[in-house]
Protein backbone atom coordinates (compact mmCIF):
# COMPACT_ATOMS: atom_id res chain seq x y z
CA UNK A 1 0.00 0.00 0.00
CA UNK A 2 2.96 2.32 0.34
CA UNK A 3 6.51 2.67 -0.69
CA UNK A 4 9.23 3.48 1.74
CA UNK A 5 9.31 7.11 2.75
CA UNK A 6 12.42 9.18 3.21
CA UNK A 7 13.22 12.42 4.99
CA UNK A 8 10.19 12.29 7.26
CA UNK A 9 7.70 11.62 4.47
CA UNK A 10 5.71 8.44 4.08
CA UNK A 11 6.41 8.87 0.37
CA UNK A 12 4.05 7.78 -2.37
CA UNK A 13 0.77 6.43 -1.06
CA UNK A 14 -2.00 4.57 -2.86
CA UNK A 15 -5.50 4.71 -1.41
CA UNK A 16 -7.51 1.52 -1.19
CA UNK A 17 -11.25 0.98 -1.17
CA UNK A 18 -12.61 -1.16 1.64
CA UNK A 19 -16.03 -2.80 1.25
CA UNK A 20 -18.08 -2.78 4.43
CA UNK A 21 -20.79 -5.35 3.83
CA UNK A 22 -22.23 -5.33 7.34
CA UNK A 23 -25.54 -3.41 7.42
CA UNK A 24 -25.33 -0.08 9.18
CA UNK A 25 -28.37 1.30 10.99
CA UNK A 26 -28.13 5.07 11.00
CA UNK A 27 -29.32 7.52 13.64
CA UNK A 28 -31.92 8.87 11.19
CA UNK A 29 -33.50 5.39 11.22
CA UNK A 30 -32.43 4.37 7.72
CA UNK A 31 -30.29 1.37 6.88
CA UNK A 32 -27.25 1.19 4.64
CA UNK A 33 -26.88 -2.44 3.56
CA UNK A 34 -23.29 -1.93 2.51
CA UNK A 35 -20.90 0.92 1.99
CA UNK A 36 -17.40 1.60 0.80
CA UNK A 37 -14.70 3.60 2.54
CA UNK A 38 -11.59 4.89 0.85
CA UNK A 39 -8.61 4.49 3.12
CA UNK A 40 -4.91 5.23 3.32
CA UNK A 41 -2.57 3.58 5.79
CA UNK A 42 0.96 4.52 6.77
CA UNK A 43 3.44 2.38 8.71
CA UNK A 44 3.15 -1.29 9.61
CA UNK A 45 0.63 -3.04 11.82
CA UNK A 46 2.65 -4.95 14.45
CA UNK A 47 2.15 -8.63 15.22
CA UNK A 48 0.13 -7.87 18.37
CA UNK A 49 -2.08 -5.51 16.30
CA UNK A 50 -1.69 -3.02 19.11
CA UNK A 51 -0.09 -0.06 17.32
CA UNK A 52 -2.95 1.20 15.15
CA UNK A 53 -3.89 4.87 15.20
CA UNK A 54 -7.05 6.26 13.63
CA UNK A 55 -7.06 9.76 12.13
CA UNK A 56 -10.50 11.40 12.01
CA UNK A 57 -10.83 14.21 9.52
CA UNK A 58 -12.61 17.54 9.86
CA UNK A 59 -15.30 19.21 7.73
CA UNK A 60 -13.50 19.28 4.40
CA UNK A 61 -10.81 16.68 5.04
CA UNK A 62 -10.38 13.28 3.48
CA UNK A 63 -8.38 10.07 3.60
CA UNK A 64 -5.27 11.63 2.09
CA UNK A 65 -3.59 12.79 5.31
CA UNK A 66 0.06 12.13 4.52
CA UNK A 67 2.47 11.40 1.72
CA UNK A 68 1.98 11.98 -1.99
CA UNK A 69 -0.22 10.55 -4.65
CA UNK A 70 1.80 9.78 -7.74
CA UNK A 71 1.33 13.00 -9.67
CA UNK A 72 0.94 15.41 -6.78
CA UNK A 73 3.15 18.26 -5.67
CA UNK A 74 1.23 18.94 -2.46
CA UNK A 75 1.26 16.25 0.25
CA UNK A 76 -1.74 15.08 2.32
CA UNK A 77 -3.48 17.52 4.65
CA UNK A 78 -1.61 16.51 7.84
CA UNK A 79 1.70 15.55 6.33
CA UNK A 80 3.57 17.86 8.74
CA UNK A 81 2.42 15.64 11.64
CA UNK A 82 2.33 12.10 10.21
CA UNK A 83 5.46 10.33 8.99
CA UNK A 84 8.65 8.64 10.09
CA UNK A 85 10.04 10.55 13.08
CA UNK A 86 7.08 12.96 13.10
CA UNK A 87 4.74 13.38 16.12
CA UNK A 88 2.46 10.64 14.75
CA UNK A 89 5.47 8.45 14.05
CA UNK A 90 4.94 5.91 11.29
CA UNK A 91 8.10 4.09 12.39
CA UNK A 92 6.10 3.05 15.43
CA UNK A 93 2.42 3.39 14.56
CA UNK A 94 0.19 1.92 11.91
CA UNK A 95 -1.83 4.97 10.91
CA UNK A 96 -5.27 4.61 9.32
CA UNK A 97 -6.91 7.56 7.62
CA UNK A 98 -10.23 7.37 5.84
CA UNK A 99 -12.71 9.50 3.98
CA UNK A 100 -15.82 9.37 6.14
CA UNK A 101 -19.08 7.89 5.00
CA UNK A 102 -20.95 10.64 3.16
CA UNK A 103 -17.70 12.18 1.95
CA UNK A 104 -17.01 13.04 -1.65
CA UNK A 105 -13.49 11.75 -2.15
CA UNK A 106 -14.15 8.10 -2.84
CA UNK A 107 -16.22 6.79 0.06
CA UNK A 108 -19.92 6.09 -0.33
CA UNK A 109 -21.64 9.45 -0.32
CA UNK A 110 -24.09 11.69 -2.15
CA UNK A 111 -21.94 11.77 -5.30
CA UNK A 112 -21.82 7.96 -5.63
CA UNK A 113 -24.36 5.60 -7.14
CA UNK A 114 -27.02 4.02 -4.93
CA UNK A 115 -26.79 0.33 -5.93
CA UNK A 116 -30.49 -0.17 -5.21
CA UNK A 117 -31.70 2.47 -7.65
CA UNK A 118 -28.75 2.70 -9.99
CA UNK A 119 -28.99 6.47 -9.56
CA UNK A 120 -26.54 8.92 -8.00
CA UNK A 121 -27.64 9.32 -4.37
CA UNK A 122 -27.69 13.12 -4.37
CA UNK A 123 -30.27 14.46 -1.89
CA UNK A 124 -31.48 10.91 -1.15
CA UNK A 125 -28.31 10.14 0.74
CA UNK A 126 -29.19 9.94 4.43
CA UNK A 127 -28.05 12.71 6.77
CA UNK A 128 -25.44 11.37 9.15
CA UNK A 129 -24.29 11.94 12.70
CA UNK A 130 -20.89 11.67 14.32
CA UNK A 131 -22.20 8.48 15.96
CA UNK A 132 -22.91 7.02 12.52
CA UNK A 133 -19.35 7.77 11.49
CA UNK A 134 -17.98 6.07 14.59
CA UNK A 135 -20.08 2.96 13.82
CA UNK A 136 -18.85 2.96 10.25
CA UNK A 137 -15.23 3.44 11.37
CA UNK A 138 -15.61 0.61 13.91
CA UNK A 139 -16.70 -1.72 11.10
CA UNK A 140 -13.60 -0.63 9.19
CA UNK A 141 -11.42 -1.34 12.25
CA UNK A 142 -12.85 -4.83 12.53
CA UNK A 143 -12.29 -5.40 8.83
CA UNK A 144 -8.65 -4.31 9.22
CA UNK A 145 -8.25 -6.68 12.19
CA UNK A 146 -7.92 -3.91 14.74
CA UNK A 147 -9.73 -4.66 17.99
CA UNK A 148 -8.41 -1.61 19.86
CA UNK A 149 -6.87 1.63 18.63
CA UNK A 150 -3.70 2.71 20.42
CA UNK A 151 -5.05 6.21 19.80
CA UNK A 152 -7.85 7.94 17.97
CA UNK A 153 -6.82 11.44 16.93
CA UNK A 154 -8.73 14.30 15.35
CA UNK A 155 -9.08 18.07 15.17
CA UNK A 156 -12.28 20.14 15.03
CA UNK A 157 -15.09 17.88 13.73
CA UNK A 158 -12.45 15.13 13.86
CA UNK A 159 -12.09 15.72 17.61
CA UNK A 160 -15.83 15.18 17.98
CA UNK A 161 -15.44 11.74 16.40
CA UNK A 162 -12.65 11.01 18.87
CA UNK A 163 -14.90 11.84 21.85
CA UNK A 164 -17.76 9.81 20.40
CA UNK A 165 -15.45 6.82 19.91
CA UNK A 166 -14.32 6.96 23.53
CA UNK A 167 -17.92 7.18 24.77
CA UNK A 168 -19.58 4.67 22.42
CA UNK A 169 -16.83 2.04 22.14
CA UNK A 170 -14.82 2.44 25.34
CA UNK A 171 -12.89 -0.80 25.13
CA UNK A 172 -11.68 -0.07 21.62
CA UNK A 173 -9.84 3.19 22.36
CA UNK A 174 -6.76 3.38 24.59
CA UNK A 175 -6.02 7.06 24.03
CA UNK A 176 -8.21 9.87 22.76
CA UNK A 177 -6.54 12.98 21.34
CA UNK A 178 -9.07 15.79 20.93
CA UNK A 179 -7.72 18.89 19.18
CA UNK A 180 -9.40 22.29 18.70
CA UNK A 181 -12.82 20.80 19.30
CA UNK A 182 -15.96 21.36 21.37
CA UNK A 183 -18.46 19.24 23.33
CA UNK A 184 -21.18 20.57 21.03
CA UNK A 185 -21.20 23.54 18.74
CA UNK A 186 -22.52 26.93 19.76
CA UNK A 187 -25.58 28.70 18.38
CA UNK A 188 -23.12 31.03 16.65
CA UNK A 189 -21.49 28.05 14.94
CA UNK A 190 -24.85 26.62 13.87
CA UNK A 191 -25.69 30.06 12.50
CA UNK A 192 -22.55 30.11 10.37
CA UNK A 193 -23.36 26.62 9.11
CA UNK A 194 -26.91 27.64 8.29
CA UNK A 195 -25.75 30.58 6.17
CA UNK A 196 -23.33 28.25 4.37
CA UNK A 197 -26.16 25.78 3.71
CA UNK A 198 -28.53 28.51 2.52
CA UNK A 199 -25.88 29.72 0.10
CA UNK A 200 -25.80 26.23 -1.46
CA UNK A 201 -29.53 25.52 -1.26
CA UNK A 202 -30.43 28.85 -2.91
CA UNK A 203 -28.02 28.43 -5.80
CA UNK A 204 -30.17 27.97 -8.96
CA UNK A 205 -27.72 25.27 -10.07
CA UNK A 206 -28.45 23.20 -6.94
CA UNK A 207 -31.57 21.60 -8.50
CA UNK A 208 -32.72 20.16 -5.20
CA UNK A 209 -29.43 18.34 -4.87
CA UNK A 210 -29.76 16.61 -8.27
CA UNK A 211 -27.27 18.89 -10.03
CA UNK A 212 -25.23 15.87 -11.20
CA UNK A 213 -28.07 14.93 -13.55
CA UNK A 214 -28.12 18.48 -14.92
CA UNK A 215 -24.40 18.45 -15.62
CA UNK A 216 -23.78 21.47 -13.37
CA UNK A 217 -22.50 22.16 -9.85
CA UNK A 218 -23.88 24.79 -7.47
CA UNK A 219 -20.55 26.55 -7.61
CA UNK A 220 -21.73 29.97 -6.46
CA UNK A 221 -23.32 28.55 -3.33
CA UNK A 222 -20.43 26.27 -2.47
CA UNK A 223 -17.96 29.09 -3.08
CA UNK A 224 -19.84 31.42 -0.73
CA UNK A 225 -20.10 28.68 1.90
CA UNK A 226 -16.36 28.15 1.80
CA UNK A 227 -15.59 31.88 1.86
CA UNK A 228 -17.71 32.25 4.97
CA UNK A 229 -16.06 29.24 6.55
CA UNK A 230 -12.62 30.60 5.88
CA UNK A 231 -13.36 33.82 7.74
CA UNK A 232 -14.20 31.76 10.81
CA UNK A 233 -11.05 29.63 10.55
CA UNK A 234 -8.77 32.67 10.83
CA UNK A 235 -8.31 35.13 13.67
CA UNK A 236 -8.82 38.85 13.16
CA UNK A 237 -5.13 39.43 13.91
CA UNK A 238 -4.03 36.80 11.40
CA UNK A 239 -6.20 38.34 8.68
CA UNK A 240 -4.85 41.78 9.46
CA UNK A 241 -1.28 40.51 9.37
CA UNK A 242 -1.84 38.59 6.15
CA UNK A 243 -3.90 41.09 4.14
CA UNK A 244 -4.17 44.40 5.98
CA UNK A 245 -6.48 46.90 4.29
CA UNK A 246 -4.32 47.02 1.23
CA UNK A 247 -5.85 47.77 -2.12
CA UNK A 248 -4.43 45.71 -4.95
CA UNK A 249 -4.26 48.85 -7.12
CA UNK A 250 -2.96 52.32 -6.12
CA UNK A 251 -6.46 53.84 -6.29
CA UNK A 252 -9.97 52.52 -5.49
CA UNK A 253 -11.79 51.52 -8.67
CA UNK A 254 -15.30 52.10 -7.28
CA UNK A 255 -16.79 48.85 -8.48
CA UNK A 256 -17.28 45.29 -7.15
CA UNK A 257 -14.22 43.71 -8.67
CA UNK A 258 -11.58 42.31 -6.39
CA UNK A 259 -9.92 45.33 -4.83
CA UNK A 260 -8.59 44.18 -1.51
CA UNK A 261 -6.12 41.38 -0.85
CA UNK A 262 -8.52 39.59 1.47
CA UNK A 263 -11.19 39.50 -1.24
CA UNK A 264 -8.75 37.94 -3.63
CA UNK A 265 -7.77 35.35 -1.02
CA UNK A 266 -11.36 34.41 -0.20
CA UNK A 267 -12.32 34.14 -3.87
CA UNK A 268 -9.34 31.91 -4.51
CA UNK A 269 -10.19 29.68 -1.54
CA UNK A 270 -13.82 29.47 -2.65
CA UNK A 271 -12.90 28.73 -6.24
CA UNK A 272 -10.44 25.96 -5.48
CA UNK A 273 -12.91 24.38 -3.07
CA UNK A 274 -15.56 24.07 -5.80
CA UNK A 275 -13.09 22.04 -7.85
CA UNK A 276 -12.50 19.49 -5.11
CA UNK A 277 -15.63 19.32 -2.99
CA UNK A 278 -19.25 18.26 -3.37
CA UNK A 279 -22.07 20.53 -2.28
CA UNK A 280 -24.27 17.71 -0.91
CA UNK A 281 -21.36 16.46 1.17
CA UNK A 282 -20.80 19.96 2.50
CA UNK A 283 -24.45 20.12 3.57
CA UNK A 284 -24.18 16.70 5.22
CA UNK A 285 -20.95 17.51 7.06
CA UNK A 286 -22.30 20.77 8.48
CA UNK A 287 -25.42 18.98 9.70
CA UNK A 288 -23.31 16.31 11.42
CA UNK A 289 -21.42 19.13 13.11
CA UNK A 290 -24.68 20.74 14.24
CA UNK A 291 -26.14 17.46 15.53
CA UNK A 292 -23.09 16.50 17.59
CA UNK A 293 -23.94 16.46 21.28
CA UNK A 294 -22.83 13.33 23.14
CA UNK A 295 -24.41 14.65 26.34
CA UNK A 296 -27.86 14.43 24.73
CA UNK A 297 -27.77 10.63 25.10
CA UNK A 298 -27.06 10.98 28.83
CA UNK A 299 -29.72 13.40 30.10
CA UNK A 300 -27.66 16.34 28.84
CA UNK A 301 -24.79 15.42 31.14
CA UNK A 302 -21.42 15.42 29.44
CA UNK A 303 -19.97 14.05 32.69
CA UNK A 304 -22.27 11.04 32.50
CA UNK A 305 -21.28 10.56 28.86
CA UNK A 306 -17.57 10.60 29.69
CA UNK A 307 -18.09 8.16 32.57
CA UNK A 308 -18.55 5.55 29.82
CA UNK A 309 -15.07 6.21 28.48
CA UNK A 310 -12.04 4.15 29.46
CA UNK A 311 -9.47 6.00 27.37
CA UNK A 312 -6.92 8.48 28.59
CA UNK A 313 -7.41 11.89 26.98
CA UNK A 314 -5.19 14.60 25.61
CA UNK A 315 -7.08 17.80 24.84
CA UNK A 316 -5.38 20.61 22.93
CA UNK A 317 -6.70 24.11 22.17
CA UNK A 318 -5.24 27.17 20.43
CA UNK A 319 -5.29 30.62 21.99
CA UNK A 320 -6.32 32.46 18.80
CA UNK A 321 -9.09 30.00 17.83
CA UNK A 322 -12.48 31.68 18.15
CA UNK A 323 -14.48 29.14 16.12
CA UNK A 324 -13.63 26.36 18.62
CA UNK A 325 -12.29 28.47 21.45
CA UNK A 326 -10.12 27.25 24.34
CA UNK A 327 -13.13 27.77 26.63
CA UNK A 328 -14.91 24.97 24.74
CA UNK A 329 -11.95 22.66 25.23
CA UNK A 330 -11.98 23.53 28.93
CA UNK A 331 -15.61 22.34 29.03
CA UNK A 332 -14.41 18.98 27.72
CA UNK A 333 -11.59 18.90 30.27
CA UNK A 334 -13.90 19.85 33.14
CA UNK A 335 -16.37 17.11 32.27
CA UNK A 336 -13.55 14.57 32.02
CA UNK A 337 -12.15 15.60 35.41
CA UNK A 338 -15.62 15.47 36.96
CA UNK A 339 -16.05 12.01 35.45
CA UNK A 340 -12.74 10.96 36.99
CA UNK A 341 -11.15 10.28 33.61
CA UNK A 342 -7.41 10.78 33.07
CA UNK A 343 -6.87 13.91 30.97
CA UNK A 344 -4.16 16.38 30.09
CA UNK A 345 -4.85 19.75 28.52
CA UNK A 346 -2.44 21.98 26.64
CA UNK A 347 -3.29 25.50 25.52
CA UNK A 348 -1.07 26.37 22.58
CA UNK A 349 -0.12 30.00 22.09
CA UNK A 350 -1.07 30.68 18.49
CA UNK A 351 -1.98 33.48 16.10
CA UNK A 352 -3.69 32.03 13.04
CA UNK A 353 -7.00 30.89 14.54
CA UNK A 354 -8.82 27.58 14.16
CA UNK A 355 -6.58 26.59 11.23
CA UNK A 356 -3.63 26.41 13.64
CA UNK A 357 -4.51 22.79 14.39
CA UNK A 358 -3.13 21.95 10.96
CA UNK A 359 0.08 23.95 11.45
CA UNK A 360 3.42 22.57 12.66
CA UNK A 361 3.61 24.85 15.72
CA UNK A 362 6.60 23.67 17.79
CA UNK A 363 4.81 23.59 21.18
CA UNK A 364 1.82 21.82 19.65
CA UNK A 365 3.90 19.15 17.99
CA UNK A 366 6.02 18.78 21.13
CA UNK A 367 2.93 17.94 23.21
CA UNK A 368 1.72 15.43 20.61
CA UNK A 369 5.18 13.92 20.31
CA UNK A 370 5.60 13.48 24.09
CA UNK A 371 2.13 12.06 24.51
CA UNK A 372 2.25 9.67 21.58
CA UNK A 373 5.73 8.47 22.39
CA UNK A 374 4.36 7.20 25.72
CA UNK A 375 1.42 5.63 23.91
CA UNK A 376 3.85 3.82 21.62
CA UNK A 377 5.87 2.58 24.62
CA UNK A 378 2.69 1.42 26.30
CA UNK A 379 1.44 -0.64 23.35
CA UNK A 380 4.86 -2.08 22.57
CA UNK A 381 5.12 -0.28 19.24
Amino acid sequence: MQESGAGGSVGIVVPQVVDIDVPLILDCGRLLRRHQLIVETYGQLNAARSNAVLICHALSGDHHAAGYHGDERKPGWWDNCIGPGKPIDTNRFYVVSLNNLGGCRGSTGPNTVDPETGRVWGPDFPLLTVRDWVRSQSLLATKLGIQQWAAVIGGSLGGMQVMQWAIDLPTRVRHAVVIASAPQISAQNIAFNEIARQAILSDPDFHGGRYYEHGVVPGRGLRLARMLGHITYLSDAAMRAKFGNDLKAPQPSFNFDVEFEVESYLRYQGESFVDRFDANTYLLMTKALDYFDPARDYDDSLVAAFRQAQARFLVIAFSSDWRFSPARSREIVKALVDAGRPVSYALIDSSLGHDDFLMPLPDYHLMLRHYLSRVADEVGA
Binding site: R330, K334, V337, G340, P342, V343
Partner: protein, 211 residues
Protein backbone atom coordinates in the same frame (compact mmCIF):
# COMPACT_ATOMS: atom_id res chain seq x y z
CA UNK B 1 6.48 24.96 41.98
CA UNK B 2 9.72 26.88 42.17
CA UNK B 3 12.94 25.02 41.56
CA UNK B 4 14.68 26.61 44.49
CA UNK B 5 14.55 23.48 46.64
CA UNK B 6 16.72 21.08 44.76
CA UNK B 7 17.78 18.54 47.36
CA UNK B 8 17.06 15.26 45.70
CA UNK B 9 17.14 11.92 47.42
CA UNK B 10 17.77 8.45 46.08
CA UNK B 11 14.20 8.20 44.85
CA UNK B 12 14.40 11.56 43.18
CA UNK B 13 11.88 13.31 45.39
CA UNK B 14 12.76 16.27 47.57
CA UNK B 15 12.44 15.59 51.31
CA UNK B 16 9.66 18.17 51.72
CA UNK B 17 7.70 16.45 48.95
CA UNK B 18 8.39 13.07 50.57
CA UNK B 19 6.90 14.44 53.74
CA UNK B 20 3.81 15.57 51.85
CA UNK B 21 3.60 12.19 50.14
CA UNK B 22 3.51 10.62 53.58
CA UNK B 23 0.43 12.68 54.49
CA UNK B 24 -1.55 11.49 51.48
CA UNK B 25 -3.70 8.39 51.92
CA UNK B 26 -3.27 5.75 49.24
CA UNK B 27 -5.83 5.77 46.45
CA UNK B 28 -7.00 9.33 47.08
CA UNK B 29 -7.82 12.06 44.55
CA UNK B 30 -5.20 14.81 44.44
CA UNK B 31 -5.04 18.17 42.67
CA UNK B 32 -1.54 19.69 42.59
CA UNK B 33 -1.60 23.42 41.90
CA UNK B 34 1.53 24.62 40.15
CA UNK B 35 2.67 21.03 39.69
CA UNK B 36 5.89 21.93 37.84
CA UNK B 37 7.33 19.00 35.92
CA UNK B 38 4.96 16.58 37.65
CA UNK B 39 7.52 14.73 39.74
CA UNK B 40 5.38 14.66 42.89
CA UNK B 41 2.22 13.49 41.10
CA UNK B 42 4.25 10.86 39.28
CA UNK B 43 5.60 9.63 42.61
CA UNK B 44 2.15 9.65 44.22
CA UNK B 45 0.64 7.74 41.30
CA UNK B 46 3.35 5.10 41.33
CA UNK B 47 3.85 4.66 45.08
CA UNK B 48 0.49 5.56 46.60
CA UNK B 49 -1.96 4.72 43.82
CA UNK B 50 -3.15 8.30 43.78
CA UNK B 51 -5.45 9.55 41.01
CA UNK B 52 -4.21 13.05 40.38
CA UNK B 53 -4.20 16.09 38.16
CA UNK B 54 -1.74 18.95 38.09
CA UNK B 55 -2.38 22.57 37.17
CA UNK B 56 0.52 24.31 35.51
CA UNK B 57 0.94 27.48 33.45
CA UNK B 58 4.42 26.98 32.01
CA UNK B 59 4.50 25.27 28.62
CA UNK B 60 7.84 23.48 29.18
CA UNK B 61 6.54 22.07 32.46
CA UNK B 62 3.28 20.99 30.84
CA UNK B 63 5.30 19.18 28.18
CA UNK B 64 7.42 17.54 30.91
CA UNK B 65 4.28 16.31 32.71
CA UNK B 66 2.88 14.89 29.49
CA UNK B 67 6.20 13.15 28.82
CA UNK B 68 5.95 11.57 32.29
CA UNK B 69 2.37 10.49 31.80
CA UNK B 70 1.12 12.81 34.53
CA UNK B 71 -2.32 14.36 34.00
CA UNK B 72 -1.73 18.08 33.64
CA UNK B 73 -4.10 20.93 32.86
CA UNK B 74 -2.54 24.08 31.47
CA UNK B 75 -4.10 26.96 33.38
CA UNK B 76 -3.29 30.07 35.38
CA UNK B 77 -3.76 29.64 39.14
CA UNK B 78 -4.75 33.26 39.48
CA UNK B 79 -7.76 32.48 37.28
CA UNK B 80 -9.00 30.36 40.17
CA UNK B 81 -10.45 26.92 40.60
CA UNK B 82 -13.93 27.65 39.27
CA UNK B 83 -13.68 24.69 36.88
CA UNK B 84 -13.46 22.32 39.83
CA UNK B 85 -16.46 21.08 41.75
CA UNK B 86 -16.84 21.55 45.50
CA UNK B 87 -15.37 18.65 47.46
CA UNK B 88 -14.13 16.92 44.32
CA UNK B 89 -10.64 16.15 45.67
CA UNK B 90 -9.30 14.58 48.85
CA UNK B 91 -6.23 16.80 48.82
CA UNK B 92 -5.37 20.00 47.00
CA UNK B 93 -1.66 20.80 47.05
CA UNK B 94 -0.01 24.19 46.77
CA UNK B 95 3.74 23.80 47.17
CA UNK B 96 6.02 26.85 47.23
CA UNK B 97 3.51 28.87 45.18
CA UNK B 98 1.33 30.62 47.77
CA UNK B 99 3.61 33.65 47.95
CA UNK B 100 3.37 34.23 44.19
CA UNK B 101 -0.44 34.46 44.05
CA UNK B 102 -2.52 37.63 43.77
CA UNK B 103 -4.66 36.75 46.79
CA UNK B 104 -3.22 33.87 48.83
CA UNK B 105 -6.08 34.01 51.35
CA UNK B 106 -8.77 33.69 48.66
CA UNK B 107 -6.74 30.95 47.01
CA UNK B 108 -6.76 28.89 50.21
CA UNK B 109 -10.52 29.43 50.65
CA UNK B 110 -10.97 28.10 47.11
CA UNK B 111 -8.62 25.20 47.79
CA UNK B 112 -10.63 24.26 50.87
CA UNK B 113 -13.82 24.42 48.82
CA UNK B 114 -12.46 22.02 46.17
CA UNK B 115 -10.46 19.77 48.48
CA UNK B 116 -11.30 18.12 51.79
CA UNK B 117 -7.74 18.90 52.87
CA UNK B 118 -5.31 21.56 51.73
CA UNK B 119 -1.57 20.99 51.78
CA UNK B 120 0.27 24.29 51.60
CA UNK B 121 4.00 24.95 51.73
CA UNK B 122 5.84 28.27 51.63
CA UNK B 123 9.22 29.81 52.42
CA UNK B 124 9.28 31.31 55.94
CA UNK B 125 10.00 35.04 55.73
CA UNK B 126 10.69 35.04 59.47
CA UNK B 127 13.88 33.01 59.13
CA UNK B 128 16.92 34.63 60.77
CA UNK B 129 18.81 35.02 57.47
CA UNK B 130 15.89 37.03 56.11
CA UNK B 131 15.81 39.15 59.25
CA UNK B 132 19.57 39.60 59.09
CA UNK B 133 19.37 40.83 55.50
CA UNK B 134 16.59 43.26 56.37
CA UNK B 135 18.51 44.50 59.42
CA UNK B 136 21.45 45.21 57.17
CA UNK B 137 19.10 47.25 54.99
CA UNK B 138 18.54 44.88 52.07
CA UNK B 139 15.89 42.58 50.72
CA UNK B 140 16.95 39.01 51.45
CA UNK B 141 18.41 36.69 48.86
CA UNK B 142 18.67 33.19 50.34
CA UNK B 143 18.66 29.63 49.14
CA UNK B 144 14.88 29.42 49.51
CA UNK B 145 14.40 32.97 48.18
CA UNK B 146 16.99 33.13 45.42
CA UNK B 147 15.60 35.98 43.29
CA UNK B 148 16.34 39.69 43.66
CA UNK B 149 13.53 42.03 44.75
CA UNK B 150 12.98 43.32 41.20
CA UNK B 151 12.64 39.99 39.43
CA UNK B 152 11.07 37.77 42.06
CA UNK B 153 7.66 36.24 41.41
CA UNK B 154 7.04 36.34 45.17
CA UNK B 155 4.60 39.14 45.91
CA UNK B 156 3.00 37.93 49.15
CA UNK B 157 5.68 36.57 51.44
CA UNK B 158 4.74 35.72 55.00
CA UNK B 159 6.22 34.27 58.18
CA UNK B 160 5.13 31.16 60.03
CA UNK B 161 3.60 33.44 62.67
CA UNK B 162 1.66 35.38 60.01
CA UNK B 163 0.32 32.19 58.49
CA UNK B 164 -0.72 30.81 61.89
CA UNK B 165 -2.56 34.07 62.52
CA UNK B 166 -4.34 33.86 59.15
CA UNK B 167 -5.41 30.26 59.85
CA UNK B 168 -6.78 31.31 63.23
CA UNK B 169 -8.57 34.35 61.82
CA UNK B 170 -10.26 32.33 59.05
CA UNK B 171 -11.05 29.35 61.23
CA UNK B 172 -8.98 26.95 59.12
CA UNK B 173 -7.99 23.92 61.17
CA UNK B 174 -4.30 23.04 61.10
CA UNK B 175 -4.16 19.24 60.96
CA UNK B 176 -0.40 19.04 60.52
CA UNK B 177 2.41 21.56 60.63
CA UNK B 178 6.01 20.69 59.82
CA UNK B 179 8.84 23.19 59.80
CA UNK B 180 12.08 22.38 58.04
CA UNK B 181 15.52 23.91 57.78
CA UNK B 182 17.46 24.41 54.57
CA UNK B 183 18.46 20.73 54.57
CA UNK B 184 14.76 19.90 54.92
CA UNK B 185 15.25 18.49 58.40
CA UNK B 186 13.55 19.31 61.69
CA UNK B 187 16.42 20.27 64.02
CA UNK B 188 16.36 21.19 67.73
CA UNK B 189 16.71 24.86 66.85
CA UNK B 190 13.40 24.81 64.97
CA UNK B 191 11.67 23.24 67.98
CA UNK B 192 13.15 25.99 70.11
CA UNK B 193 12.26 28.96 67.90
CA UNK B 194 10.31 27.83 64.83
CA UNK B 195 9.69 31.23 63.24
CA UNK B 196 13.39 32.04 63.49
CA UNK B 197 14.90 28.80 62.25
CA UNK B 198 12.41 27.22 59.84
CA UNK B 199 13.08 27.94 56.19
CA UNK B 200 10.23 25.92 54.75
CA UNK B 201 6.78 25.54 56.29
CA UNK B 202 4.40 22.68 55.46
CA UNK B 203 0.77 22.80 56.56
CA UNK B 204 -2.16 20.47 56.19
CA UNK B 205 -5.39 22.39 56.61
CA UNK B 206 -9.07 21.62 56.86
CA UNK B 207 -11.88 24.08 56.41
CA UNK B 208 -13.92 25.65 59.14
CA UNK B 209 -15.92 23.19 61.21
CA UNK B 210 -19.30 22.64 59.64
CA UNK B 211 -18.17 24.04 56.33
Amino acid sequence: MSANLDLDTGIGLRPDLQLIAGWIKPGSRVLDLGCGDGKLLDYLAQHRGVHGYGLEIDTANVAACIARGVNVIQADLDDGLRDFETGSFDYVLLTQTLQALQRPDEAIEEILRVGRSAIVTFPNFGHWRVRQALLSGHMPVTKTLPAAWYDTSNIHLCTVADFDALCAARGWRVRERRLLNRAHREGWSIRLAPNLFAEVALYQLRGRLGS
